[in-house]
């Protein structure tokens, strides 16, 4: 599944896995009965049978909803409160589940399995990244079914029942999977009933595209030290890429004057002029850099959006 579809997936009102058990709910059974009882049955008889079911159905529907609405919180009642496998271990400590992830590059099903065992919907998805970003968290998305505690959003994570949902490393600042003894620690309030989706960098395989494409100019990456904040001529930057032994590809940057949004269109190198301006560079995969260019020099770097500094500045 591509990044595009991961986003689309997040837009779904409901996922099939959340509907588990619905086939045996009252409404579903009643529909099945009404269909297979087939034509020819006396309508009056059917209506009476149906009426009798409604009362029961309503009561059961109410119970079901509670289970769905509170999700893992309710289901957790009879489940485990700790779990361990070769990739991580989870235990309940002071009202929070504490997950210590010892192997960040394990098969992601191991994480899912462990979190599910204690009733949490937490997904860690390894995504391919440059060697420098292996073991780092690229992004996380938290969706809440219940309301978080009121108050300002805390950078560390939302609070549920007074307890924060956090992700750190131990010791702090270490790189899981790279530094010896470095463990990733997630703390999830036991009352949390939403989902957390974490994108975790794993070393890309040969030829695989990097998910951390916009870190090309970060320290240790393929274009480290290059400065493009004010725009630089294509000839100069393409020469820099050659010096670094990189293959260069190009995309034309288009700006939407109304909304200020950007769009990108791949361009064959032959159509890019030496005097065009490079505004940003993305690392595509090992050995390949993408230069984002415009034919004319713009007043300011289009990637400078007011809050983030321009790239490589």
């Amino acid at each position: 599944m591509s990044g595009t579809e991961e986003l689309v997936g997040r837009l779904a009102r409901v996922h099939d896995r959340e509907l588990a058990g619905q086939a045996s709910a009252t409404g579903a059974r009643a529909l099945l009965d009404s269909i297979v009882s087939g034509p020819g049955e006396a309508p009056a008889l059917r209506r009476r049978a149906w009426g009798a079911r409604v009362a029961v159905g309503t009561a059961i529907a109410g119970t079901l909803v509670a289970a769905v609405a509170f999700g893992p919180g309710v289901l957790r009642g009879g489940g485990a409160t700790s779990y361990a496998n070769s990739a991580l271990d989870i235990s309940l400590e002071g009202g929070r589940y504490v997950a210590r992830i010892t192997d960040p590059f394990a098969d992601h099903r191991k994480y899912t399995e462990a979190f599910q065992a204690v009733g949490l919907d937490i997904r860690l998805r390894p995504v391919p990244v440059s060697p420098g970003a292996a073991g780092t968290i690229l992004g996380r998305m938290i969706t809440m079914r219940g309301a978080p505690d009121p108050g300002p959003v805390e950078p560390a994570g939302p609070r549920i029942g007074g307890l924060a949902l956090t992700m750190d490393t131990s010791p702090p600042g270490c790189r899981p999977g790279r530094d010896d003894g470095c463990v990733m620690v997630m703390r999830i309030p036991a009352e949390f009933t939403g989902t957390v989706d974490v994108r975790l960098g794993r070393p890309a395989r040969a030829g695989e595209e990097y998910a951390d494409f916009d870190r090309a100019m970060a320290p240790g990456e393929m274009f480290a030290g290059v400065r493009l904040g004010d725009g630089r001529p294509v000839a100069e930057i393409a020469a820099e890429a050659r010096r670094r032994g990189l293959t260069t590809v190009f995309s034309l940057v288009r700006t939407d004057p109304a909304g200020g949004g950007l769009s990108f269109e791949p361009l064959p190198a032959g159509r890019v002029g030496a005097g065009w301006t490079v505004w940003n560079a993305w690392q595509v995969k090992a050995g390949v850099i993408r230069l984002l260019v415009t034919p004319d020099r713009l007043k300011r770097n289009p990637f400078h959006n007011g809050s983030a500094p321009p790239p490589g500045s």
Binding site: E5, L7, G9, V14, A28, L32, R145, D214
Partner: protein, 186 residues
Amino acid sequence: MDDTRRDRYEAVYLAGYERILGYAMRRCDSPEDAADVVAETFEIAWRRVADLPPGEEARLWLYGVARNVLANHRRRQTRHHARRAELTEELAQLYARPFPAEENLEMGAIGRVFRELPDDDRELLALVAWEGLDAGEIARVLGGSRNAVRIRLHRARRRFSRALAAAGVEYMPVSRSAQVQTGRSL
């Protein structure tokens, strides 16, 4: 109706119900509409029980039926059947849950971009992302060749990526690298 056919139908119903319910709920704005789509899909399946393909193919066949039911439903705004009241009520409770995507500004923006895509693009992306189908399976649901679906899917992804980039959408960044991956499909 003999017992074998009835048993076969019940097996298909129980195996496919949650999938079709999910399909309908993700595409209908109201529990009444979703209940209609689910009920009509399975009513048609009962009338055509002799046509039901075996095994896993039955699921794809049901998606195809549900898709037609949904299209017809949108055209004629069917009145809701009173006898589906119970099912509708059950679905109303499911609809009453908070819809995570609506609680998040970024996802709201992504949702707007998605809704503005051409219908065919949206349905292709949804069949992959929501129903988890691959190009070959989509070809069996929609008709046509696997290759044609792959090409259409590629174009749909590209249009969606561009529309997102044009809308300047970012995706819950904890670092700058968490932005929507507009660069990857270029």
